[in-house]
């Protein structure tokens, strides 16, 4: 009896040991690339190409960052990224919330078709629509502005869909009660619906943020001038055509781009994870 118990315990210990080791391995697998980016950015060019590579910089230097700042007008790119991202989030919210509310609380003619269109739009990648949109933008003479990176994303099908799902879970009596109190639609939306759908809203916002901050294909196609390009396109500019790929410089540029996102995540990771997981999709 006694030996059986210890055997069982040992086995469990072994299993959890293996499991723990494997978990550590996974941690390394997922975090190490970031570590490698950070470490590389503080290396000298010579230090980055020694073989075998060193886990810590031989000589710690800020040279790479200096190069990033001297070779790029970083503020320009940063500013564009910020403007585009903020604008997209604001417009998407202003347009998406009423639409989601209407879809969730009203039955009207054409609702089914429109909802189907929203769902269909959710599945159409921008990589298919870009040719026509490019032609439209060029006819509007917008290609030297930030508008082509903002306006086409005015309505987020995903956001509308997700918010609608969240709004639908708000009990009808609350809304009815509010209506009896003579609350207007806008008031119902802002005072009742939005607070109730807070975590969905956060998910949508986060997705919009990540989506536009990180977007690469769209600005690549839709920008003709450096003054309207975002950070994602700036890193390419750090590749010197001839002088060898200077990985520390590229990683330094990369770090500047990744840092804001990482910081936000570090600050709000619990909230993000929970809203992402639990409201991500239902």
């Amino acid at each position: 009896m006694h030996s059986k118990y210890t055997g069982f315990k040992l086995r469990r210990l072994a299993v959890s040991g293996i499991s723990f080791t494997f978990k550590l391995f996974m941690l390394v697998l997922f975090l190490f690339p970031f570590y490698w980016m950070i470490v590389t950015s503080f290396k000298t060019y010579g230090g980055s190409i020694v073989f075998p590579p060193t886990l810590l910089p031989h000589t710690f230097t800020l040279e790479a960052f200096e190069q990033v700042f001297t070779r790029l007008n970083l503020w320009n790119y940063l500013k564009n990224s910020v403007i585009v991202t903020v604008a997209v989030i604001v417009i998407q919210t202003l347009i998406g919330v009423p639409a989601a509310y209407a879809f969730s609380r009203y039955s009207f003619k054409g609702r089914g078709i429109m909802l189907a269109l929203v769902m269909a739009a959710f599945m159409v990648p921008t990589q298919i629509t870009f040719i026509t949109v490019y032609i439209m933008m060029s006819k509007l003479r917008w290609l030297n502005t930030l508008l082509p990176q903002i306006v086409p994303f005015g309505a987020s099908a995903y956001g509308i869909f997700l918010l609608r799902q969240a709004f639908m879970q708000v009990p009808t009596d609350i809304i009815e009660a509010a209506r009896l109190d003579n609350a207007g639609e806008i008031k119902i939306m802002t005072r009742i619906m939005l607070p109730a759908a807070k975590s969905s809203l956060m998910t949508v916002t986060l997705f919009s943020f990540v989506g536009s901050w990180n977007s690469y294909f769209w600005p690549l196609v839709m920008s003709n001038a450096e003054k309207v390009r975002p950070l994602t396109l700036a890193i390419e500019r750090l590749k010197d055509q001839d002088a060898g790929i200077n990985w520390p410089v590229i990683m330094a540029g990369n770090m500047i781009m990744v840092l804001p996102v990482l910081l936000i995540f570090l600050l709000m990771s619990n909230k993000i994870i929970s809203s992402m997981g639990y409201r991500g999709i239902k």
């Binding site: 190409i49 998406g96 429109m114 990648p125 040719i131 994303f153 099908a157 994870i273 992402m276 999709i281």
Partner: protein
Amino acid sequence: MPYVMVAPAMTFLLVFTFYPLANLVYLSFFRYNLISDKVFIGLTNYRNLLFVKKDFIQALKNTALYSFAVVFFTILLAILFALWLEKDSKINRFLQKSMFTPYLIAMVSTAYIWSWMFDVDSGLLNAALAFVKLSPLRWLNDSSLAIWCIVIVSVWKSLGYYLLIVLASLKSIPSEIIEAAELDNTPWLRKFFRIILPMISPQIFFLLITITISSFKVFDSVRVMTNGGPGNATDVLVTYIHRYAFQMNMRVGYASAAGSLLLGILMILTVFYFRFAGRRVHYQ
């Protein structure tokens, strides 16, 4: 009132999503480079795409292989990890967070970091291989390996997110059902296939569709890591369309034909999923 509320959203979707789709198909019947006048050439673009030139078929094959691999491995690993990390503990939560981090980072950044690790001469992976006395690999320079490198990066980047979704759906399974199964001493595998999998099938189905679509539109990682090479070993549909539309003398008509085919493929796949997989999905 509801019309006023949905009007802006619908306008945006019509102008920037549905009109471009229709126009794409329309343009595919023309020879057009944005500067010249449009010349109607019927199905010539399609004929060139499918039967004359070989590069489109290659891009199509690459995309299909890539998508299949990404869909398969992402879903499989997401389920396995979810089961493994289901228990609420500190390390599990930390691991979930760590795995989720790459999802928030731009694919461009991810691609640069991994290109650096894949670097043949001074990259980390070859150093690791050398450390365990294996001969170095050519990674992105190797035509049969390159596409797998891109698959790895994609799975690495998005696994954490899909893991969270699967985890959430696992947690939404009513505990009575699991407890009942445990009381019955149902074997683990059977418990998984008979109870857990059906219960989370709506989410898995959703993943199937989203990951398929996002795989078919892969671009950023390919452009940064290989730019379609070596040769056209990693050329995918979107890099192909982009190349013909914006390089190569801007053959917009031809690129539109390629885009229309991509659209067609996505539609067929979606219908297929709903027809065949959708039926098996168990809705609570």
